[in-house]
């Protein structure tokens, strides 16, 4: 079990806050939308990731629990 960043693309409005809070996991594309590194979040990042999710003005950043397969 691990957590990954997931974007609700219908909600995202390219505010870009997530890239400031999680620069090592999120970059912005040329239109300002997040490019998310597709890897599990290390434990020491989880707290910041939860904050990014709760601070997203569009509430479009989600943390998704993924079962290891």
């Amino acid at each position: 079990m691990n957590e990954r960043i997931d974007i609700d693309w219908t909600g995202c409005e390219a505010h870009g806050l997530c890239a400031e809070l999680l620069p090592e996991h999120i970059e912005l594309d040329e239109w300002g939308y997040p490019l998310v590194a597709n890897m599990p979040l290390p434990p020491h990042t989880l707290k910041r990731a939860r904050r990014a999710a709760s601070d997203c003005p569009a509430l479009a950043l989600k943390l998704r629990v993924v079962r290891d397969t």
Partner: protein, 393 residues
């Protein structure tokens, strides 16, 4: 519009012979009543048949039925079945042809899918032909009530999350899915969305069994599929063919330079490559085959399709909203002979930026078409850069 090819090595299973719609009495004379079976037995039959979805994704039907049934048990909510007859793909005719000629096979399949998942209601979603289907329903005594839903005619109306939203009273637009609609769809109930052709196959599997189903097709891809064939200079027609059929037996390739396999979200193949391929569930999409006449420019053709696809973006997701119009405009430039500047690399970059970054697969399907066009029509691209075009020769 509907024709069967005399040289295909199977009699049609799904489409009524003679090209006339089958009423309930004729249907029952031909096939007998819908077999009564317990959910577990139905699930076993479907698993053994190897039936996959015929809407384009070729997902194993057995697994979808199982997960909807399981979600129903887990949540205590009674599942909902949606039969998908939207056929938003502009080049496809197979679903509307099936619904017109063999509506009762689809309606039988809906009842069987409901029995397999424990569903309490079902919806049949179509863009056209709703009155005929409603009248077909009034003659039946189905245990699970079926409502015909008229969808707005848009490319994305048939996307499964859009269907679930629309049936639930919302807009027919794709939605963010977590959990997936097979767990939480219409009014939060586990929802099975299955293409109408898939359901018609189910109706036959329940009657004749998995061994019969597997007498067509290949070991890995059993059964047959409906295809819409566009041969230059002819009306499109619908034909049923087993998986593994060589494409050159499905449509004459003479006089074509390329084939679009799978429709607007599909892939272009140069004719020599298409001639070596067979009908394959993983590449045929919803079964559209379109031949490009040898004197036509594939880049112009693709640019036209991309303008349509960009116009059909629901505009909800940033990468799709920004990327598709840019890709489409760039392709319109590439479709004309003349200097190309950085246009080719722009298209490649934007394709990477839209892929996998949306609530539905519209960007992914569009990128698939773009990449196959850049490969298949690479010689034409080079000719355009030098100021020449196939169509001006």
């Amino acid at each position: 519009m509907t024709a069967t090819f005399p040289d295909l090595h199977m009699p049609p299973r799904l489409l009524a012979p003679g090209g006339t719609p089958t009423d309930l009495r004729t249907h029952q004379d031909r096939y007998g009543p819908v077999p009564q079976a317990a959910a577990d037995d139905l699930l076993r039959l479907v698993a053994e048949s190897g039936l996959t979805g015929r809407g384009g994704a070729a997902f194993p039907v057995h697994r979808k039925l199982l997960s909807v049934a399981a979600a129903g048990h887990r949540t205590g909510r009674t599942p909902v079945v949606i039969a998908n007859g939207a056929e938003g793909e502009p080049a496809s005719r197979k679903d509307r042809t099936l619904l017109r000629l063999s509506p009762h096979l689809v309606l039988d399949g809906i009842q069987l899918a409901a029995a397999a998942t424990g569903a309490g209601e079902a919806h049949l979603a179509v863009e056209e032909g709703a009155p005929d289907l409603e009248s077909a329903l009034t003659h039946r005594r189905d245990p699970v009530p079926v409502k015909v839903v008229r969808l707005p005619a848009r490319f994305l109306s048939g996307q499964s999350s859009a269907l679930a939203r629309y049936v639930g009273g919302g807009a027919a637009l794709p939605a963010y899915q977590n959990p997936p609609i097979r767990e939480r769809g219409v009014h939060r109930a586990p929802t099975l969305v299955q293409n109408v052709e898939t359901l018609a196959h189910l109706a036959l599997i329940a009657r004749y069994g998995p061994d019969w189903f597997r007498t067509a097709g290949t070991q890995a891809q059993p059964g047959s599929a409906l295809c819409t064939i566009h041969t230059p200079g002819h009306e499109p027609h619908v034909v049923e063919a087993p998986f593994g059929t060589p494409l050159h037996r499905l449509m004459p390739l003479h006089g074509t330079s390329a084939v679009l396999l799978g429709g607007y979200h599909g892939t272009w193949l140069p004719t020599p490559e298409a001639a070596s391929r067979t009908l394959d569930a993983t590449t045929m999409g919803a079964g559209v085959l379109m031949g490009l006449p040898a004197d036509r420019c594939g880049l112009k053709e693709t640019a036209g399709i991309l303008r349509y696809l960009a116009s059909q973006s629901a505009g909800q997701c940033g990468p799709c909203l920004n990327g598709l119009p840019r890709i489409s405009a760039a392709f319109t430039t590439l479709a004309e002979p003349g200097p190309q500047g950085s246009t080719r690399t722009d298209v490649a970059r934007w394709s990477g930026l839209v892929e996998g970054r949306g609530a539905c697969h519209h960007p992914d399907g569009t990128v698939r078409l773009v990449r196959s066009a850049l490969t298949t029509f690479a010689p034409e691209l080079d000719a355009h850069a030098r100021g020449f075009c196939t169509e001006n020769h």
